[in-house]
């Protein structure tokens, strides 16, 4: 995993609640391998007409939002299916951070494991950020994972928290499997205790 420390990027507003992972990554593309085509799968049915033409009215198709690195979304972003492919699609589109009031549980976890930073902030703050970046397209936001601070266009700072273990992994670009494998003796001991108790 690529380490995540700090990010300053153009932010795109997506003023929709309950954006489910079926919308982010339609099921029919999931049989395909994770390759360069993923860039078109993200929000596919909202970005493209059935004939395959780009829909200019969809916000993520409009410059400069089509090059955004941060998505400022609505509440319950990423609810529904556990498909990690939704995270792969957002990464392929160029996003490294999603800001929302709340996230689907599994999506939140999948994001952390793939270097897509999910930032939870209060509803009023998220609404303000959405308005600010919509009013002045091209506006950048800054996220500092070490300090756990998001800096808004007006210079105001907003603290957020990422679970400690996941944050360490993100900052160092480590994946959990490697770390857990160092606990092999604890896992074996647990299995032995269980076998004896049975």
């Amino acid at each position: 995993m690529e380490p995540f420390t700090q990010l300053t990027a153009v932010a795109a507003p997506l003023d929709m609640a309950n954006v489910d992972t079926d919308q982010i990554m339609p099921a029919r593309f999931m049989r395909r391998p994770r390759d360069a085509r993923y860039v078109d799968y993200g929000f596919h049915d909202q970005r493209f007409t059935p004939e395959g033409a780009k829909r200019p009215d969809f916000i993520l198709n409009r410059p400069p939002f089509d090059k955004a690195g941060i998505l400022v979304a609505g509440r319950n972003f990423g609810v529904g299916s556990s498909r990690e492919a939704a995270v792969y699609a957002l990464l392929a589109m160029g996003f490294r951070c999603v800001v929302a009031e709340s996230f689907g549980d599994i999506f939140f976890s999948n994001s952390l494991k793939n270097g897509l930073l999910p930032v939870r902030l209060p509803e009023s703050v998220v609404a303000g950020l959405r308005q600010a970046v919509a009013a002045a397209p091209g506006t950048t936001l800054s996220v500092d994972l070490q300090a756990q601070i998001l800096t808004a266009p007006d210079g105001s700072t907003h603290p957020f928290t990422v679970p400690g273990f996941a944050r360490d992994c993100l900052l160092r670009g480590l994946d959990e499997i490697g770390l857990t494998l160092t606990l092999e003796s604890e896992i074996t001991a647990f299995e032995a205790r269980r076998a004896n108790a049975a």
């Binding site: 489910d20 079926d22 689907g104 976890s109 999948n110 793939n114 606990l183 896992i187 299995e191």
Partner: protein
């Protein structure tokens, strides 16, 4: 202070606890399906082996066709490739997989419990959000993503932060004609799809105790649609009787199951109580499971939404669903009906639907896909297949089918489908497809009427 059912199972599985509350939990049962190929690729890329193939079971369900049980005969090359990869991964890692041609194949959340593979007190994970289903047997069961699937394959453990403890009680008696699907939709309409976010829901109360295991599986299946990580029901005599004699269940009931309940003085972070007597047959009208009303009611208008955010969401949902708002649910005309999925395709579900269809003809096309190949055989032994076929429905093989539409068939653009599945998301059953979630009995009644109605 006493402990909740959740805490008892959690504590019994902690391999290592960190100061920040995060725990490394041991996984008793790990299920996977064809979509889990990303995780096997991650394992391969790192040169890691599956640590406990004996605790890992595969089920071919997401891409299983509803016609035919032979992998080489699957027509679509991409779908066939996915199924072949699933079967190869299982073989290469010496994992028991219930493949397409296996007489015990089925949807993982139907066939796993049916095999007796999920037992009270277990930790159960699967790379599928509806893993919460297995909590109905008194297990701690939750869905995970591909990276976590790889982690469990390699280590047989998973890192978890403790969720909020939520108790959802259904008091009183469920009226005749209402089902646990209606309980689930009523709950989600009440607390919202974010109502259970970050939480573990224990379903309790007299109406839950009165449910069969199959009805409890439906209820826990839908816990994820309330945003919860898992749903669970404390095991009881009903659970033990249901498990007895299943292939992988122990010959004798385990006395440890008797301790699996929330102590009277256990503390929950939040409680929600519904009166089961008020629950009527429900259906969704929008594109979120929380957008549900009784079938006897009408579609709400956007301006009736309780707040501005939902006003926007409701307007978008109505537009997508091709509804104005204000019309009676019973006036909403259907194009087709789907009876199937891990939510509602067990034998009791098929019986419910068949009871409505007996001696009648359907007005719109209906697909019936049993939850497992065993359920299919059981239904045929009872003659349910004849009832479905005589009514005019397609009686086909077990698959996730039109719940997720990965198997090669979709609901067409603009088509309206009453479905016993779990998600009415935009595009879920196919691009532009319009889904109304209902119970099996309501699905059957709606197929006969060609409109959204209950069997009452």
């Amino acid at each position: 202070m006493g402990q909740t059912l959740f805490q008892k199972i959690w504590d019994a599985h902690v391999v290592q606890a960190r100061d920040d509350g995060l725990a490394l939990l041991y996984v008793d049962r790990h299920y996977f399906h064809e979509g889990s190929f990303h995780a096997f690729n991650m394992l391969k890329a790192r040169g890691l082996a599956v640590r406990r193939p004996d605790l890992t079971f595969g089920f071919g369900d997401h891409y299983a066709p509803t016609v035919g049980r032979s992998t080489p005969e699957v027509k679509d090359p991409e779908i066939r490739g996915i199924i072949e990869t699933f079967e190869e991964n299982a073989r290469a890692n010496r994992i028991r997989a219930f493949e397409l041609a296996d007489p015990d194949q089925g949807i993982v959340h139907v066939a796993g419990p049916e095999q007796g593979l999920t037992l009270p007190g277990m930790t159960v994970v699967c790379g599928d959000s509806h893993t919460s289903t297995h909590g109905a047997l008194g297990a701690l069961a939750f869905g995970i993503g591909a990276s976590e699937v790889a982690h469990v394959l390699a280590t047989q453990t998973i890192w978890q932060s403790p969720p909020k403890q939520i108790r959802c009680s259904f008091d009183g008696e469920l009226p005749a004609g209402s089902t646990s699907k209606d309980m689930a939709l009523a709950l989600i309409a009440h607390i919202g799809t974010g109502g259970g976010l970050g939480g573990a829901i224990e379903f309790a109360g007299t109406a839950v105790r009165a449910l069969s295991v199959e009805a409890r599986l439906t209820l826990c299946n839908m816990a994820i649609e309330a945003g919860a990580r898992t749903g669970m029901v404390a095991p009881d005599a009903v659970t033990a009787a249901w498990l007895a004699g299943r292939p992988y269940a122990p010959a004798q009931r385990d006395p440890a199951w008797d301790r699996l309940f929330s102590d009277p003085d256990a503390r929950f972070d939040s409680e929600v109580t519904l009166d089961a007597a008020n629950i009527r047959p429900m259906a969704t009208w929008g594109t979120s499971p929380e957008e549900a009303v009784p079938l006897s009611g009408r579609v709400p208008r956007a301006e009736e939404a309780p707040d501005e955010a939902r006003q926007k969401a409701w307007a978008r949902s109505l537009d997508y669903m091709g509804l104005r708002g204000g019309e009676a649910m019973a006036d909403v005309a259907l194009d087709r009906v789907f009876l199937g999925s891990c939510t509602n395709a067990r034998i009791e579900d098929l019986r419910d639907a068949a009871a409505v269809l007996r001696g009648r003809r359907i007005a719109v096309p209906m697909l019936v896909s049993p939850g497992s190949s065993r359920v299919k055989r059981a239904a045929e032994a009872e003659g349910l297949d004849r009832i479905f076929k005589e009514a005019g429905a397609r009686w086909e093989e077990s698959s996730c089918a039109l719940c997720v539409s990965m198997h090669g068939e979709t609901v067409g653009e603009g088509e309206r489908c009453a479905s016993t599945s779990n998600r009415n998301f935009a595009g879920r059953q196919g691009r532009g497809a319009r889904t109304h979630l209902v119970s099996p009995a309501s699905a059957a009644a709606s197929a006969v009427a060609g409109r959204l109605v209950s069997a009452l």
